[in-house]
Symmetry: C2
Amino acid sequence: MIAIDWGTTSFRAYRLDREGNVVDARSSGKGIMATPPGPNVLEDEIGDWLDDGPIVMSGMVGSRQGWVEAPYVPCPAGFSEIASFLKEVRWKNHRAWIVPGVSCRDAAGVPDVMRGEETQILGCGVDGTICLPGTHSKWVEVRGGRIERFSTAMTGEVYAVLKQHSILGRMMEEGAADPDAFAQGVRRSGDDGGLLHHLFGVRTRGLMGELAPAASASYLSGILIGHELRSRATKEVLLLGAAALTTLYAQGAALLGVATRTLDADAAVRCLFRLASSRA
Amino acid sequence: MIAIDWGTTSFRAYRLDREGNVVDARSSGKGIMATPPGPNVLEDEIGDWLDDGPIVMSGMVGSRQGWVEAPYVPCPAGFSEIASFLKEVRWKNHRAWIVPGVSCRDAAGVPDVMRGEETQILGCGVDGTICLPGTHSKWVEVRGGRIERFSTAMTGEVYAVLKQHSILGRMMEEGAADPDAFAQGVRRSGDDGGLLHHLFGVRTRGLMGELAPAASASYLSGILIGHELRSRATKEVLLLGAAALTTLYAQGAALLGVATRTLDADAAVRCLFRLASSRA
């Protein structure tokens, strides 16, 4: 079978054997924003695999801007709920299934959504509080193998836009990650005044010569991740994602006395394999 | 005498009579980022006034990127401290004074700075908690006519960069300010989850059809201003600034049970007149 992680900026395909082992993998930059998603991308990228179906695809390929919209499944959502809402697409003699996203509402009734992360989470097969750090970090409560509820923090995107487009970025110089400045930022996030005040300190500490230009991106990152971590009261967090980010979050959590464990970042393929098997 | 408010993006000059009344005013876009600040700008903009000195200038003209740096005066700072640190500049047969900025440190020792706002504040001649909303909002404690301490919130700049450069802006449509969406945002800022989570709700509520594209900028503004207001526990705020912003802040404060009073936004000229008189 073929498992595909088709996101906004990237396309990753895995060819699996009958036991679910990855026997081949390809990736490209043909995310849905780069190239209109549809049969052509599959023909171009993995045309020689297509007779090895079934094909299961997760991520933004199922969004409104994707190939076909696979509407969000409301929480609580586990394997069976998601499997039953797979969206089928057909072309020529091929067919594929798109994994739906998951939605929920917080205590105030405000909606939240994920698309792609549900596949990673269910592939891990663990219960607990799972954090997937990133552009839009997800904090997910999993109980009995089902996603009970979750909430998103825009940490990564706020970091990126402040660095690229605000006055804070103007004083920054490229440099290696600075663990000490990061820790200062995490501690700063617990002070009075709120995030909007703490952010300005990136500028003023630089202005006063108390923060090196090459350290200020790490300080900013610590402030933002510190605020994200503090707004989630929990004793243990399971981290799921790219090592560069999970390492940072583990460092930040340690400063706040929160235990962390890192999950297998490649778990999504296992979930896609199970979903494919359910339709084989 | 001549009073000048010389900022990052604008240049405003006022010609005053012996009693401090404004008899003429000129403004242009020759802020320090647009045109290198120095005698040439004064010659071009108000060359025919220059023999009517003394000239007193406040704002970013005294920053490191300005004409001459007028170092920050530490808090507590009142009229006499600021008057004694005026920085003199001379050219041809003219001379002028640049008003220094003010600095302080918060309880955690992190520095904060203002430049230009001190002139507006001292011109008002009132004690209390003064908020100057804007790109970098200032919250200032004034006691006995002196600036005791202050703190900055990057509210306006965070709003602008999120609107222009983040995924939140992509769903926005231009529209009139929407007081109801603004109020929803202010209320939202009191919910669990923190600012980084509340921001994502601008997207998800839009995605779910629960927030109109033309209302989402007002909702975002309400979330940010709500967070700013909530992180400052106070019973009464004196608002100082452009009417469009002080009106928004007054609406937000009212929702949180905080009383507001609006100060005269043109007070800076009074302070500049007093400073000029001290050197005449």
